[in-house]
């Protein structure tokens, strides 16, 4: 990208490097800075913001996006994308009322198993058949939503005590759903940063051909990644159904794929793969939630909120792009 005709002098190079570093710092940590600033802004400007109730509600609302976005971050790290997550959420949620007769644990197990199946299908299509991720997961998304509607039909309420308590009760003041999201985040972070799998994933996303030539198990890693994304989406669907005590196959998880992708990208993971930022992804999801909440707190109508989000997404990605350009 850089096209310098004459080599710069040492002093010039030094200042450029330092400025590059400063900008780089802002770009790498921009999402945290924005999150902190927006939080402070709300502390000052929004009434009743700094209450346990408000903060917990925000956390509860963001959990499905966080869980789905974590899986999406891994998929994007392999230079893929998963459009099926919203449909998988709906599918998992639609199964709960059908199998709840066998007990809460069984129903949840079957629901999560669906994520495993769709993930295996997506992963195999991408890794073995060689279909582009966006097309493979698009097909699963369309068909999956249809199957969810066929199975679920109308909105069904869930009354099973185990599942209801999963969605509404807390442990030491922290709601179960938030706890589960935190545990998943820790596990995904560990897998991405501290395991061979994580390193292989990043290598494949960076240069698939080279990874293949280096003898990495490309197919296995890619399939595993889509399976993880599918299972996480299914878990998010179960938690959302448990919280709302209902499963609505038409609405549940709609546009979730776009929210999750936005969170990942704003969190600093490039769509071109080869990099995964887990903490950034969580911060990205929190930032989008807080932006939306701020607009709602101040009675900004939905229309303006959406247009504001659009501009923010473009601005955030523009800053991210700058980082890649300056480092490449």
């Amino acid at each position: 990208m850089t096209t310098t005709a004459t080599p710069p002098t040492r002093a010039e190079a030094e200042t450029r490097r330092r400025r590059g570093l400063d900008l780089d710092w802002v770009r790498t940590n921009g999402v945290y800075v924005a999150l902190a600033l927006l939080f402070l802004l709300n502390v000052v400007w929004t009434n009743n913001f700094l209450t346990e109730r408000t903060l917990l509600l925000q956390l509860i609302q963001v959990t499905p996006v966080v869980i789905v976005a974590l899986g999406m971050a891994l998929v994007i790290g392999t230079e893929g994308i998963d459009l099926s997550v919203g449909a998988v959420m709906a599918l998992a949620a639609a199964l709960i009322p059908l199998y709840v007769g066998y007990g809460a644990a069984m129903a949840i197990l079957i629901a999560v198993l669906v994520g495993f199946v769709t993930g295996s299908l997506a992963g195999s299509m991408v890794a073995v058949v060689g279909v582009q991720p966006i097309v493979a997961t698009l097909g699963i998304m369309v068909a999956g939503r249809g199957v969810a509607n066929l199975l679920g039909g109308e909105i069904k309420t869930i009354r099973e005590p185990g599942i209801v308590s999963l969605g509404s009760e807390s442990l030491l003041g922290v709601p179960y759903v938030v706890l589960i999201a935190a545990v998943i985040a820790a596990l995904v972070w560990f897998a991405a940063r501290r395991t061979t799998y994580g390193r292989q994933l990043v290598a494949i996303g960076g240069n698939k051909r080279a990874a293949e030539l280096a003898g990495l198990p490309v197919k296995r890693v890619v399939i595993t990644t889509y399976v993880v994304a599918g299972v996480l989406a299914a878990i998010a669907g179960v938690l959302l159904a448990a919280r709302s005590q209902a499963s609505d196959p038409t609405k549940l998880g709609q546009l979730m794929e776009l929210s999750a992708i936005t969170a990942v990208v704003i969190g600093g993971t490039p769509l071109s793969g080869g990099q995964v930022r887990i903490i950034g992804t969580i911060a990205g999801a929190l930032l989008m939630q807080l932006i939306f909440a701020t607009l709602v707190f101040h009675n900004i109508p939905d229309s303006t909120a959406q247009m504001a989000q659009a501009v923010i997404v473009i601005a955030a990605v523009y800053v991210q792009m700058g980082r890649r350009r300056s480092t490449s």
């Binding site: 459009l83 058949v129 369309v142 249809g146 240069n207 936005t262 523009y318």
Partner: protein, 334 residues
């Protein structure tokens, strides 16, 4: 959509190809056509009502809205991009047209085209000049256009009606030789699209950019201009689709177009256009659109089937067709 993928099957590969490879190439490109013909024949045999002129006209009219939008998407995808904003722009175009029809035909046509064209222009410039990924930019466009739509409809609570007797209604409700004008619009636009793709330098530039952008740049082709034109065209055609449906339903329905971008992309992919860019046909897209519409129609004909089967069958057919395309591409390469 990066270029770091497996080697592509380029159309113009020279050298002797085995007849097997040639057949594979043909089936890969025209797979959707085979399924379409098969489905249509089967449906004609199975259901008396399928082959009637009334039903076929209805299929053509219903398909025309999607077809117009898919034509724009074809050029975007062939140029290596993607446009997720078309569903929202489609709905926005419809609402603006319905509102504008109260002030005459000219306003009803010019207003949506101007507003949506501007959205396409901004998207194109941000993608071509800013170098941002099309996926993200048009995702933001999706949000923005939907937000604008909500803004002008009191958060979606107002549905503008086309006044009775307005000339605007004629666009989709008027007929020529028994076919609605919208169908003729589609025929003319697809012919034009084919000409532009195969007979103009813009068409070849788009394919070159989609095939290998760096090479196109080095050859001195107007890469940026070709990209901007593609996104503007896509938004204009999405707006036209909205105008057509507003005329057809005589109102600006605010909830239209959600998820339409994905339906449009499947139609384009079914038609044999590669999502990696650099190859594709305009006619294939029309076949893809018709295939999706015929599936819907057939499932409606089987009265006992839940309409959700449409989604299931469309999704499965998409997966099967792309798997077959991939497999045939491999056969062809051997």
């Amino acid at each position: 959509m990066t270029t770091a993928t497996a080697p592509e099957v380029t159309p113009g590969t020279t050298g002797e190809r085995s007849s097997r490879a040639r057949v594979a190439h043909l089936v890969q490109r025209q797979g959707a056509l085979v399924i379409l013909v098969f489905a249509a024949v089967a449906a004609t045999v199975a259901f008396d009502s399928f082959g009637t002129q009334r039903n076929l006209t209805s299929i053509a009219v219903q398909a025309s809205f999607l077809a117009v939008v898919a034509l724009g998407m074809t050029f975007v995808i062939m140029g290596g991009g993607i446009d997720l904003s078309v569903g929202s722009v489609f709905a926005l175009g419809g609402v603006l047209a319905a509102w504008g029809s109260q002030h005459g035909l000219l306003v009803a046509l010019a207003l949506p085209l101007a507003v949506c064209g501007a959205i396409g222009l901004v998207q194109g410039l941000v993608i071509a000049r800013g170098g941002l990924p099309p996926f993200i930019v048009t995702l933001a466009g999706l949000l923005f256009a939907r937000g604008l739509l909500l803004l002008i409809t009191d958060e979606g609570s107002t549905t503008y009606k086309v006044p009775p007797g307005a000339a605007f209604r004629e666009i989709a409700q008027g007929k020529l030789l028994g076919l609605n004008y919208t169908v003729w619009v589609v025929i003319v636009l697809f012919l034009l699209g084919g000409l532009v793709l195969h007979r103009t330098s813009y068409g070849s530039t788009t394919l070159a950019v989609g095939g290998q952008e760096d090479a196109a740049q080095l050859m001195g082709l107007p890469v940026m201009r070709s990209k901007v034109i593609a996104y503007v065209t896509s938004s204009l055609l999405a707006a036209l689709g909205g105008i057509m449906i507003a005329s057809y339903t005589s109102s600006g329905v605010t909830i239209l177009g959600v998820g339409m971008e994905l339906e449009v992309i499947s139609a384009v992919v079914l038609g044999g256009t590669l999502l990696t860019g650099g190859a594709g046909t305009v006619l294939g897209t029309l076949v893809g659109v018709l295939l999706l519409q015929v599936i819907k129609n057939i499932i409606n004909q089987v009265g006992s089937l839940n309409s959700n089967w449409q989604a299931v069958v469309s999704g499965v057919i998409l997966l099967v067709v792309v798997t077959a395309q991939q497999w045939l591409a491999r056969v062809e390469r051997r």
